[in-house]
């Protein structure tokens, strides 16, 4: 399909849910109510690490207005010695995350939950629950958790034959790194740290659950997967999946943080016990203490190159905080770190380290920004050492079609080098810089994902279209689906309604995550729509009494083709829909696929900063995101992903971090002190979309949403180096850190 032939693909149409969203009508998780509904509240651990020796809920239960109390004994246990994987999660850890079992593992870990006639009564009742804790020493930072005398979080975890806080490892090897480093003319090795950062979605977790006496359960919640909510709730409560209907509310941001359940299980058990619908809404403080974030990390990265810039070997070791239960994104860190490069000898190693923080959740390209940070910083230094332009160094080593990546796959056609070439000739890269200003570049990779998706395409009796898919729409994917369906049918996109089905109305669909939604759902929507078109042609053939093969579908109507061309006036979608009853009945088709062929995504960022030498404040002056997106089905929402991801990266690089007190409690659990970028911090974010269609997708789509977070940390850091002459290898580069480094540099000079 060439651009000129497309009527809707590639056009910035108005999103199907648009009017609802700008008028306040759109119903998010906390916006739903039910008659007779009561309120649930969670009692959370005041300690970072403690054995729970006993819980007495009798006083809480006796409080007037209290309808039900739940503790870990009400939730199905999964013994620690038998893995129960569900996607990338493990139910052994999920059951212990939704409610502390043997131990409280972080400050804010749920201990019990209460449902009562009002939120105030539920909160009052939580205070009446008596918990007997044996407080233990805690380990917050990686080095605390790895120290010889570290408090061991889980006695069932061993590493190197000893009790340990290292819960797992992952390794990728290609070639022989020792031999590779021996060939190098220049070798640079540096240590890096990054801090845990929260996904920062503006909508706190919330749900409303009703359980009938026959266990028929309705869950209204905002998540990145209604089928995930159903599966996890079923596993944790014992209610069969067929009895649970999980309805996806509009979701107010997720970025990976809503790919697991927190409240739904508790509300389900409270609703079952009380016989009343239960609503639960987290406060922002609860969100910050007990959900997300992504891992903090430390890493060591070593890269060797010849004088001409050819990389001979690269190695990276990554330690990632998992929080209180195993499962940090070491795959993303160790897998994505070297992925943009054609490296003959590579080795990456990841360690999953448990510590007394909230269990990490997925955050946009989980692990990849951590992996890329060290590599892209070392490349910057290497370029300087070799006297090369940093984009040229990357271009020299850029992975391309046929490159075998260190993490395994051999790449098909893709556009990494194109993003570097576009950056080189971009106005931004050539613009002059003033005093105290600097420019940095960096690149990044994300795997992208396929997996299970389902869709149903139905033609209404009046000849319009309703598409139902199974993926919560987090950033405008419904608009992309409408464009594709309208394009295939040859009708105005406004005639296509796109809805997100609940678990009872659409087939199984995996999470909204991994940058998979438009990729996977457009495959099932394309298949369904093409089947509908086949049916429409058959109906026309019946009316004309000719062979169905002799009918074509063009511009929203059936036309006789071949020998019959021009013999009958075309039949429109409306006309065929109106006569469906006499010609064969309802017109619709469903499709369910385990999609494959997602292929990775690559991007390059250019960042200009100005450093205020007095205050240590870094201002981002100009920022450009260049990325191969395969095919931009709805360009404005593609740009939006690129811009939003870049700004999250800037926040991670410059300001975002948790501050813990000496007792292991988060000191800044709110938006005032956990400083995410605000409008006045940011410049416009320029985007440069590269379209090298994914050959394995009907429209050429690649995932878009995650890549733009990956290069940003190093792009900002390399720009600050250019401005200040100081290489920061720890994040965030907040004003006190900048000032301190600047003062030390001045003193040394």
């Amino acid at each position: 399909m060439s651009e000129s032939e497309n009527k809707w693909i590639g056009k910035n149409t108005i999103r199907p849910d648009g009017a609802d969203k700008v008028t306040g009508r759109a119903a998010f998780a906390a916006d739903a109510n039910m008659p007779g509904m009561i309120w649930g509240k969670v009692l959370r651990s005041p300690h970072a690490h403690a054995v729970i020796k006993g819980i007495d809920t009798s006083k809480a239960e006796a409080l007037p207005g209290v309808k039900a109390v739940v503790t870990a004994t009400d939730i199905i246990d999964f013994p620690v010695d038998t893995p129960v994987p569900l996607g990338i999660q493990d139910m052994r850890w999920m059951t212990r995350n939704v409610m502390a079992r043997e131990k409280a593992l972080f400050h804010g870990h749920p201990i019990a939950a209460v449902a009562a006639m009002s939120e105030a009564i539920a909160a009052e009742a939580c205070k009446l629950i008596e918990v007997d804790y044996e407080v233990l020493p805690h380990a917050i930072e990686i080095d605390d958790a790895l120290a010889d005398d570290a408090p061991i979080l889980h006695d069932f975890i061993e590493f190197d034959g000893k009790p340990s806080n290292i819960a797992g490892t992952l390794e990728h090897t290609k070639g022989d790194v020792e031999a590779g480093f021996a060939e190098a003319d220049v070798i640079i090795e540096r240590d890096f740290t990054t801090r845990p950062v929260h996904q920062g979605y503006i909508e706190p977790h919330a749900c409303l659950v009703s359980v009938a006496p026959d266990d028929k359960t309705t869950i209204w919640s905002s998540s990145q997967g209604q089928f995930m909510v159903r599966a996890m709730t079923a596993l944790l409560t014992g209610i069969p999946q067929s009895s649970i209907r999980a309805i996806p509310a509009e979701i107010g941001g997720g970025f990976g943080g809503k790919t697991i359940v927190y409240l739904e299980t508790l509300a389900t058990i409270l609703a079952k016990k009380s016989g009343l619908p239960v609503k639960m809404v987290m406060t922002r403080e609860e969100v910050m203490r007990a959900s997300g974030p992504t891992s903090g990390s430390k890493s060591t990265v070593k890269i060797g190159a010849k004088k001409d810039g050819t990389i001979t070997a690269a190695e990276g070791f990554y330690w990632l905080q998992a929080g209180g239960l195993p499962g940090s994104p070491i795959r993303g860190a160790a897998g994505c770190a070297l992925a943009p490069y054609d490296i003959p000898n590579g080795h990456t190693f990841g360690y999953d380290v448990v510590c007394n923080r909230s269990k990490v959740a997925v955050y946009r390209a989980p692990g990849a920004p951590i992996g890329a940070f060290g590599v892209e910083c070392v490349l910057d230094e290497l370029a300087e050492e070799l006297g090369m332009d940093p984009l040229d160094l990357r271009l020299k080593n850029a992975a391309k079609e046929g490159t075998k990546a260190v993490h395994g796959p051999t790449y098909p056609v893709m556009g990494y080098a194109e993003s570097l070439e576009a950056a080189k000739v971009h106005d931004h890269y050539k613009a002059p810089l003033g005093p105290n200003q600097g420019r940095g570049v960096a690149s990044g990779f994300w795997f992208n994902a396929g997996g299970e998706s389902s869709a149903q395409v139905n033609i209404t009796e009046d000849g319009n279209v309703v598409v139902t898919t199974g993926h919560p729409d987090i950033g405008g994917s419904r608009a992309g689906i409408a464009n594709i369906c309208a394009e295939l049918l040859g009708i105005d996109y406004r005639r296509v309604s796109v809805l997100i089905g609940d678990t009872a109305t659409v087939g199984f669909s995996n999470l909204t995550g991994g940058s998979r939604v438009l990729f996977a759902s457009s495959m099932v929507v394309t298949e369904s729509t093409n089947n509908v078109i086949g049916t429409l042609c058959e109906l026309a053939a019946k009316i004309w009494d000719i062979d169905p093969e002799a009918v074509t579908w063009e511009n929203g109507e059936a036309r006789p083709a071949g020998a019959n061309a021009g013999q009958f006036p075309p039949l429109t979608l409306e006309e065929l829909a109106a006569r469906a009853n006499e010609t064969g009945g309802p017109i619709g088709a469903g499709s369910q696929l385990n999609t494959a062929g997602a292929e990775g995504g690559f991007g390059t960022h250019i960042c200009d900063v100005e450093v205020d030498q007095e205050l240590g404040i870094v201002r981002v002056l100009r920022y450009t995101v260049l990325q191969d997106v395969g095919r931009a089905v709805h360009p404005a929402y593609v740009e939006g992903q690129m811009q939003g991801g870049a700004v999250q990266a800037i926040g991670w690089a410059l300001n975002e971090e948790y501050v813990y007190d000496k007792d292991g409690r988060v000191d800044n659990p709110g938006f005032l002190d956990y400083r995410m970028p605000v409008a006045s911090d940011m410049p416009m974010i320029d985007t440069y979309i590269i379209e090298i269609p994914n050959p394995k997708h009907p429209q050429g789509v690649r995932g878009v949403g995650e890549v733009p977070l990956v290069p940003g940390l190093a792009a900002v850091r390399n720009a600050i180096y250019d401005a200040l002459g100081i290489r920061f290898n720890s994040l965030p580069m907040s004003p006190p850190v900048i000032l301190d480094a600047r003062n030390r540099k001045e003193a040394a000079e």
């Binding site: 849910d17 920062g200 107010g252 922002r284 404005a636 811009q643 700004v647 999250q648 995410m676």
Partner: protein, 160 residues
Amino acid sequence: MAKIHVTTKINGEPIEFLCDPSETMLDALRNELGLTGSKEGCGSGDCGACSITLDDRLVCSCLMLAAEAEGKEINTIEGMAEGENLHPLQEKFLEEAALQCGICTPGMLVAAKALLDQNPNPTETEVRFWLAGNLCRCTGYDKIIRAVLDTAAEMREAAQ
């Protein structure tokens, strides 16, 4: 605790409601009056998702007591469109894809309208500082700022 009886005007309509003395305006809107367009992102005045106007002044409804609405005029996102005609800001947000998840959108729109009502010709910097109290985690602000500036330009043109 005895409830307080409040007589006020919301989106142009006279309204009476009962509230607890400690109840916020945001809770009253959402829980007593069914106006769930205003969102709670933080409950502490830091995200702007709950933005409303109180006698034409932009406020965070999570920081205001419901009882303070007595005798005042309140406008919320639900009152922004006139019948089936969207406000130019609402139109522009849709045309220019200035929302992704949309949870910040009601507050952004209410805040942006309050700006344009008093300053029909803001600079980019003025828009960025005015909206600095409205967090958006999805868009990186670019398209929001552009949509506000473009709406302002169009409204100025239309007014001529």
